[in-house]
Amino acid sequence: MTLTEHAAAGAGNSSVAPGRLVDLFQLGLDAPICLTWELTYACNLSCVHCLSSSGRRDPRELTTDECKRVIDTLERMQVFYVNIGGGEPTVRPDFWELVDYATAHHVGVKFSTNGVKISPAVASRLAASDYVDVQISLDGATASVNDAVRGAGSYATAMRAMQNLFDAGFRGFKLSVVMTRQNIPQLDAFKAIADQFGAQLRLTRLRPSGRGADVWNELHPTASQQRELYDWLVAHGEQVLTGDSFFHLSAYGSALPGLNLCGAGRVVCLIDPVGDVYACPFAIHSQFLAGNVRDAGGFESVWRTSDLFKSLRAPDTGGACRSCGHYDSCRGGCMAAKFFTGLPLDGPDPECVQGYGSAALAAVSAEPPKPSVDHSHRKVPVTIGRRPPRRDCDENPLAGFAAHGN
C-alpha cells in the first residue's frame, strides 16, 4: 500500500504504483490540477503546425477585467497553476498585469512564448519570481529545421530569449519542443541546448490539431522514430518533461514517467481567448466545447456541471481497443489525434505503436473534421492600388460607376 504519489505537475513525473491514481483521476477532480489558458489568438509567428490556428486577434477576446474574474475563480477552486499560451500571450498589452494578478492570488503561472518579448529587463523580472515559470518554444535544434516550421528568424529569437533568461540567473525554465519527423534526429542536440542555458527540456507530441492537420502527414514521426523517441525518453527518465503527452508510446513496454492518462475534462482543460472552455488544448472544435466562462456560473460551473465533461469522466469501455493487451498502458491514446484524423474516439490512436492505427486510418473514408475556429494570418496579400482610368481624360474618381437610379 502507498499513501502518497509524487509528480512534477503537468508532467506527472511519477510512475503510478498499484495505488491506481489513474483510476481516481479518470473520474475527474473537483477542479483541474492545471489548465491551459490561451490569452489571445494574436501571434507574431505563423507556425505551420499551430494547434490553435492562431495569427489574428479575435475582437471578442476576454477583457482585462474578465480575465481577472477568471483568476478569482481559479483561486477559489484552488487551481495550482495555469499554463498560459496563445497565440503569443506576451503581445497582449495587459499580459504582465495579468501575470502579477494571478500570482498575487495564489495561482501560479507557466507561460509559453516564442521569446519575442523576453528582453534582458523582462528576464530579470521573471528570474525574481518563484511563481512564474517560462516555456520557450523551439522546434528545431538548428535554425534550418526550426525556421522551416516556425518561420524565418524564430530560432534566433528563441535563442536570444534563452540567453537573456540564463544571464538573468533564471534556472530551470523550460525549453519546449514539439517532436516531428525532422527534429527527432536532434534529440541529443536539444538536450545540449537546454543544458547550455540551465533549462529543462520538455518534449511534446505533435497533434493534427489546428493547422497541424495540414502538415500532419509530412511532420508526424515515422514508426521507427516513435520507437527511437520512446527509448530516448526511457533512458532520460524524469530529467525530461513530456506533459504526459506520449502515453500512447507506453504500449511499447514499460510505462513512461507520468500519469499515462488522457486528462481531457478530467484533470485539465482549455480556456480559449474568447472564454470558450474546451476539454483540452488540442481539441478546439465544437464537439469538445463545454461552455464559456462568460456563462452564468462561470468557469466553475462549466468544469463541474457541463454535460461534455461529465461524459468524459464516465468510465470508458475501451471500445475497439478493449481486446488489445496493451490497452491498460496506452488507454487508446489521444482523443484529439483520433478526432482530427477522422478515427472513431473509442478506437486506436493514429500512431498506435502496435500498428492498429494505420489499419484504422486506411478504413477512414470521410473527410476528417476541421477545426471550428481559424485565426490564421490571411494568406492572400491584400493589394491596395489605384484603378487605372477608363479613358485618359477621366479624372473624376466616380467615373465608371453607374449612378443609382431614382
Binding site: E5, H6, A7, G10, G12, G19, I33, G108, D130
Partner: protein
Amino acid sequence: MRPEPFGALLYHFGTRRLSFLKNQRVLAVVRSLADHPSARAACAAAGVPEAELPVYARALAALADSSMITERTRV
C-alpha cells in the same frame, strides 16, 4: 494543499512538484503535524493503527524528501 474526494493534492511552487495524499487519514495526519510534538503523535491522534505506522512513516518521509513538509524551525 487541496482536498479531493480521494484525499488531497499538494503542490510545491518551489520544486513545481505535485504530490497526492491517497486517503483521508493521511490527510488528517499531514494537516495536524504542526499541532503535535512528533509525527508519531500526529498519527496516534488521527487514529492510525500501530501496525500501519511504518506505512505512514514512509509516506511522511517521501513528503519530507520532496520538501512538501519540512522540519519546524526550532525556537
